[in-house]
Amino acid sequence: MVCANCKGKKIFKNLECWCIAGKEDKTPFADCKMCSGKGKYNSACPQCKGSGKSPDSYELIFINADTKKQAVVVIGSNNLPALVMTEGQNSSYPDKTWRNWSLPYGDIFRNAFAEIGVSEATHFMYYRNSPIEFGWSFSDIVVADNRMGWDEDPKPEELQRLAKRAAGASFAWQVSQGGPLIWEFRSRQTTEELLEKLYQMVSVRGYTYQFEVTEGNIATGESGWGLWLVSADAKETYAELAVAYDFDVALQSGIEYWDKNYKRINRTVKKWKAEQAKKQK
């Protein structure tokens, strides 16, 4: 089907370059890496990578890493579940005027997780070998909404068109980036155990760790938890170990990152300290 992002255009042409964004005189930067000083550039659609198409269906695979049990959920734009309309009158929000239409995949995903015996309390979800927020992307697919209740609601045939488009767009990004549609679940320790584990791992090498709420470090600009490696007295910051929306995911990511990279980080910190000591002499 046609890509929901570029509507089949494939390439976005003559976009204003970042080097003139916000400038009053709109003078391009002569050595600009993006536009070579022209002030405009062309960019292939990031969702379909310039193909102009999205897949018609997706086969999502969920694996319990401990038991090897698997569940498969198929999202097919030609075989969609019936749309569900939620009305403001049934909502807990004070504004009762909105309506929204969604494809009820949330329950289908929850059933798949239950089938292979995984839950947020007992497992971390992994995508491409990295822990990610549990349930990320695995809820109802929103098709349309009428938040203010002022506009006319979409007609049934329009809703069907939007539903196909939303389903086609649902995992297009991962597919265009060459990502497998496989999510793995690994059993987890409690947060208290993870906090202790990381402390043991870093303190044995003379460091400690620090949590901060970071803004803008996550690509979409929202805030999340940043986990940093700092000196034992917390006066020097050495490395970012992880950043994630969820505290637990940041912690688990930090543990795995440190485990894989501690030798390199340790060398870098020692080198930096030696340089600082030289400068002070």
Binding site: C17, W18, F29, K33, M34, T208, T214, F247
Partner: protein
């Protein structure tokens, strides 16, 4: 309240510009305070432009400490985040 709930409670009470540091005894909550010191920063954007500017230096000031995150959250709830 478990450690995750405590961390999220601290985040919702204290917003940003804080750090929770793990120590031998537990956890220290600190607030970043701006100092008069200025530092030069050099950054290169994705377009290749290099800019240099001065920024304020911040120090971490200890506000509260506790042996566990839930206890730290409780302390901050009664004392405030500053």
């Amino acid at each position: 309240m478990d450690a995750t709930e405590a961390a999220d409670k601290i985040r919702s009470m204290c917003f940003t510009e804080f750090a929770i540091t793990r120590t031998n005894e537990g956890y220290v909550f600190g607030r970043y305070i701006r100092t008069d010191e200025r530092r030069k920063v050099r950054v290169e954007s994705s377009t290749g432009q290099v800019s240099e500017f001065e920024v304020s230096a911040y120090v971490l000031q200890k506000v509260a400490e506790a042996p566990t995150l839930p206890e730290l959250a409780d302390k901050l709830e009664s004392s405030g985040c500053k």
